[in-house]
């Protein structure tokens, strides 16, 4: 990456032209739906959620553009560093973490509280993309070459399990698995891993904390304890179902506004949307998410480098997982794991981390034709 000051400047304006403005527009639309829902969640008030969410979004927007405009080789080169730093933060949680509701997930850095596990979702993708970038198709067939990426996934998962945070741990396993799949790891290896995982279920079950076991049991049968742990899922289903086809109207959801719906500004915000805007609103948002995801894959396919492809698709898979797990959770399809709805749920770290992911996606798009050597140097 040798160039004069002039060249880089001209390239900067070119880059700005190349930003995928349609993607940016889609992101803004989804985030705006989020603002509206947070406004409704506060019974028609900007505070305490909507206004703060707008500020976070604006900050995230800046982060996204900065990341998008930085040369992709920079991300390639520093992928491991970022990963190492985030891993260090995760380890730090264990030492200086702040405890909330029985789980230690946050680091207090004065202005706000940081959740390193959110950043790890991106950092791990970066690290895996860099690792697989240098492997050719034969290398991938060799089991020995899979040890390193498995460790890249296992290290944060172990740390996150100690917080404990079942959902994020699984999240990393799945998104990591998706990257293995995209990198070309043989299908039979997945079959072996999955089979052994099924065998390992009883063993893992015995290692789970009681509340984690409870969550899974409640998921399997939410009516088990309608006033206790099953209450959230039940109330969420009631809210969703009562929304009907066109919903009960903006700010008219009784379940949300009379506090029957728990966590309506964070994890269960999709339920509120579906209660107030019905099937139409829910499918609408699902459609917007689908467009974003397909957009992500199309960027990945157009990238000329394996790093770009893997990074773009990894970020897209991450985004998909956020949306899918959250929506499936509020509809009672998967256990309540405490995962936000991307771009909509109130919460700073998740918003920044999702927008950072989109920043990387746009960066891949802008730099799709940049060639990258085995270690991140141009060639």
């Amino acid at each position: 990456m040798i160039g004069t000051r002039d060249r880089s400047e001209t390239r900067l304006t070119q880059k700005i032209w190349q930003i995928n403005w349609a993607l940016v527009l889609l992101i803004t639309i989804v985030a705006s739906i989020g603002f509206a829902m947070l406004y409704s969640a506060a019974n028609g008030n900007l505070s305490p959620w909507a206004s703060r969410q707008m500020i976070v979004f604006a900050a995230g927007f800046v982060v996204m553009f900065v990341i998008a405009l930085i040369d992709i080789r920079f991300w390639m080169r520093y992928a491991y560093i970022f990963y190492a730093l985030t891993l260090a933060l995760l380890a730090g949680v264990e030492v200086i973490g702040v405890e909330r509701g029985g789980a230690k997930r946050w680091i207090d850095i004065g202005l706000f509280q940081l959740q390193p596990s959110e950043f790890m979702k991106i950092a791990m993708i970066l690290a895996l993309a860099r690792y697989f970038h240098r492997l050719n198709i034969e290398d991938i067939g060799r089991p020995l070459f899979l040890v390193m990426p498995l460790l890249l996934v296992a290290a944060p998962v172990v740390l996150i399990q100690r917080q404990p945070d079942l959902g994020t741990g699984l999240f990393l396993v799945i998104s990591g698995g998706a990257l293995f799949f995209l990198a070309g790891v043989r299908i039979w290896k997945f079959v072996v891993i999955l089979t052994s995982a099924v065998i390992a279920v009883p063993i893992i079950w015995s290692l789970l904390r009681e509340y984690q076991q409870g969550r899974i049991l409640t998921f399997l049968s939410p009516d088990r304890d309608p006033l206790g742990a099953g209450y959230h899922i039940l109330q969420s289903k009631i809210a969703l179902g009562s929304g009907g086809v066109f919903g009960r109207g903006f700010m008219q959801g009784t379940q949300s506004h009379l506090s029957f719906l728990p966590e309506r500004q964070t994890d269960f915000i999709f339920t509120m949307l579906a209660e107030e805007f019905g099937l139409a609103g829910g499918l609408g948002l699902l459609g917007l998410y689908a467009l974003l995801i397909l957009y992500g894959f199309s960027i990945a396919l157009r990238s000329q480098t394996q790093f770009g492809r893997l990074l773009a698709s990894g970020v897209t898979v991450t985004f998909f997982l956020y949306a899918f797990i959250n929506i499936a959770m509020v509809m009672g399809l998967v256990p309540v794991v405490g995962l936000p709805l991307p771009l909509i749920s109130f919460g700073g770290t998740a918003m920044i981390s999702v927008l950072a992911g989109f920043g990387l996606l746009i960066s891949v798009s802008i730099h799709r034709d940049v060639r990258i050597g085995r270690h991140g140097d141009g060639s």
């Binding site: 050719n136 034969e138 990198a183 969703l240 929304g243 009784t254 699902l286 894959f297 394996q306 509809m331």
Partner: protein, 627 residues
């Protein structure tokens, strides 16, 4: 370069699979949404409504109880209480201290309020004080701005303006006990009261009314957001009684001079009970708030039995008042009115002597004089002639020895002995001496004041089997309809016989030698007739008789004679009957007759007023609540 191409191809294929898989999963979410929001929508909509809508019961106001003129006997009054809403108050202790200053009251139960505040949710009102006076309410209103979160709530509580004088007839209301719960949620409302005795209990279903409800929207914590719908329910029905509240109050006042007494004043033709008082009474208003253990124990242990309605549940030897029945029995058995006995103060039967109340005797007496001067000897002899069973038969026709399906519970049957009864109950045969004392209403004979009033009524109303009633209406939970005036069957007692006895009863009061002469009503238009009675509580021993019978005043209260009187007025066209008993009061003529006189006089005086009142005051709205 080539390897990179294959790698890219592999990636493209797998990315397509992955993207396709993701879209399929999204489609699955959409299907689930369709299932929940379209197929199951109705069900969840219902559940959502169940969640947010709470039904709150509204206690219906209890029906009023009115007297025959529409004067209120039992009403509801507003009861002001202070409630405090912790979340609006902030510092509860400081607020209570300020409240104490405003109310100028000693100490509020700060400890209890703080405890309640800790236990309940912060928006649930806590009662601080109840039954505020109007002065306290207004002081509180003035200071309201300084007492945020402190509110005055209004409830209804039962109030009996006549107080103790109606206690036995009307009864009282009190909180529902565990046993009385029927599953009706109304009964479980805190503070709900039901009738526990008397009319309040008998017609509780009609007086209670139907609960209303209020649909309120609540949030997940149970806080009321707003009222959606309100159904006021049905207020309790108004129950009208035959009682004359004025006469009732007067009678209670009059009886209050005695330690323990009871009276029944009734219309002999229709059976309307105009007054029924048992004295001493109790304050039915006190039962509303619940008595303390000490108060309750005091009432139960009082030797004057304030909790018992002696007018229907007190069983006494009727004494000479019973001679009315014996005289009628004798006449019907064929004893001519001229039949006479010679009274020398006692009668010998076997080796026993039966005394007349008059030590030195009445001389020769026939029926009229025997009743007028209450000569025992004439009745002893006549009774021996006709036998106890004929006396009993007449007594039963006149209403003794049985209950009369009266409106309020607790009625006692009394006792009219027969030969058969004694054999069955005591297993021994009847003795002639027992016939003798039965003839003067002593021995086994027991009657209630109500029965004495019935006897007199049946005599003076033309010989009809009148039964007493407290309401003229048919009172059902669903409706109240006026009953037609009852037609009572005739008792087939000869008019001549009735005339003879009534004439004698006229003389009891109005003849110069009548036993109740001193208690006569001087206005000839109001004059009364009647019969005195003095019943012994314990047998007078031979030793006592020889040493001179002690005067009642010299005996301890418990051993003194009961004083009785049955009377009616006006004497020639009877409209009112009164029966009076003063427990351990001494002589019937001295103690009971004057009370009966005052009651019958009052009843007749109020009679003219009645026609005026009936016209316009018959309808008394709930507005007329205070006396």
């Amino acid at each position: 370069m080539k390897t990179d191409k294959t790698r890219e191809k592999l990636f493209s294929r797998r990315a397509a699979i992955l993207a396709g898989g993701q879209m399929a999963l999204f489609a699955g979410l959409g299907a689930r949404m369709y299932y929940l929001q379209v197929l199951q929508s109705e069900r969840y909509r219902t559940l959502a409504e169940d969640n947010r809508i709470n039904l709150r019961l509204l206690a219906p106001p209890r029906g009023y109880i009115l007297d025959r003129f529409g004067e209120p006997i039992a009403i509801n009054v507003q009861n002001y209480r202070i409630v405090l809403i912790p979340e609006q108050v902030g510092d509860i202790e400081a607020t209570l201290a300020r409240l104490e200053k405003v109310l100028e009251t000693g100490s509020l139960d700060t400890k209890r309020v703080l405890r309640d505040a800790r236990r309940r949710r912060a928006f649930v009102p806590i009662t601080v004080a109840e039954n505020l006076s109007w002065g306290e309410v207004s002081r509180l209103e003035v200071n309201a701005p300084n007492l945020p979160g402190v509110n005055i709530e209004v409830g209804l509580s039962r109030f009996y303006p006549l107080g103790p004088s109606v206690a036995h007839v009307i009864g009282y209301v009190s909180s529902v006990s565990e046993k009385e719960l029927t599953g009706d949620p109304l009964l479980e409302l805190p503070g709900f009261r039901i009738g526990k005795s008397g009319i309040e209990r008998r017609y509780d279903a009609a007086l209670r009314g139907k609960a209303g409800n209020s649909q309120v929207e609540v949030n997940a914590f149970g806080r009321v957001i707003r009222e959606l719908r309100r159904d006021e329910g049905e207020p309790g029905r108004e129950v009208g009684l035959t009682l004359d509240a004025g006469l009732q109050a007067f009678a209670a006042d009059r009886l209050a001079d005695e330690r323990s007494a009871a009276t029944v004043v009734m219309d002999p033709h229709k059976g309307d009970v105009l007054a029924m008082v048992s004295s001493p009474g109790f304050n039915p208003n006190a039962f509303n708030e619940g008595l303390s253990n000490d108060e309750w124990r005091g009432l139960v242990r009082d030797p004057h039995t304030p909790l018992i309605n002696k007018a229907i549940a007190g069983q006494y030897a009727p004494g000479s008042t019973f001679k009315v029945a014996v005289a009628l029995a004798a006449l019907e058995a064929g004893i001519p009115p001229e039949h006479s006995s010679y009274c020398r103060g006692y009668m010998r039967l076997g080796n026993r002597r039966f005394h007349c109340w008059k030590k030195h005797g009445h001389g020769r007496v026939a029926l009229t004089r025997a009743l007028r001067e209450s000569c025992d000897i004439w009745f002893y002899e006549v009774a021996l002639k006709i036998g106890v069973d004929r006396i009993a038969a007449m007594a039963r026709r006149l209403g003794f020895g049985e209950t009369h399906d009266f409106d309020i519970a607790g009625e006692k049957a009394g006792l009219i002995p027969t030969k058969g009864w004694k054999r069955a109950a005591l297993g021994s045969s009847w003795q002639k001496g027992e016939t003798v004392i039965a003839a003067i209403g002593q021995g086994y004979v027991l009657a209630t004041p109500l029965q004495l009033a019935i006897m007199t009524s049946r005599l003076v109303n033309g010989g009809f089997a009148v039964t007493p009633r407290l309401t003229r209406d048919r009172i059902e939970p669903e409706f109240i309809a006026p009953n037609p005036d009852p037609e009572f069957p005739s008792l087939d007692i000869s008019k001549t016989h009735r005339r003879l006895v009534m004439n004698a009863m006229d003389q009891v009061v109005n003849h110069s030698r009548g036993t109740a002469r001193k208690a006569r009503l001087k206005d000839p238009a109001m004059a009364m007739g009647g019969k005195t009675g003095t019943s012994q509580v314990r047998r007078i021993s031979m030793a006592e008789r020889e040493g001179g019978v002690r005067k009642n005043k010299e005996k301890p209260w418990r051993e003194r004679d009961h004083a009785l009187f049955v009377g009616y007025a006006p004497v020639h066209a009877p409209q009112y009957v009164a029966a009076v008993i003063v427990e351990h009061g001494g002589g019937g003529s001295k103690v009971a007759a004057p009370i009966a006189r005052d009651l019958l006089e009052k009843a007749q005086q109020r009679d003219s007023a009645r026609h005026e009142i009936t016209g316009d005051v018959a309808i008394v709205g709930p507005g007329k609540t205070e006396q």
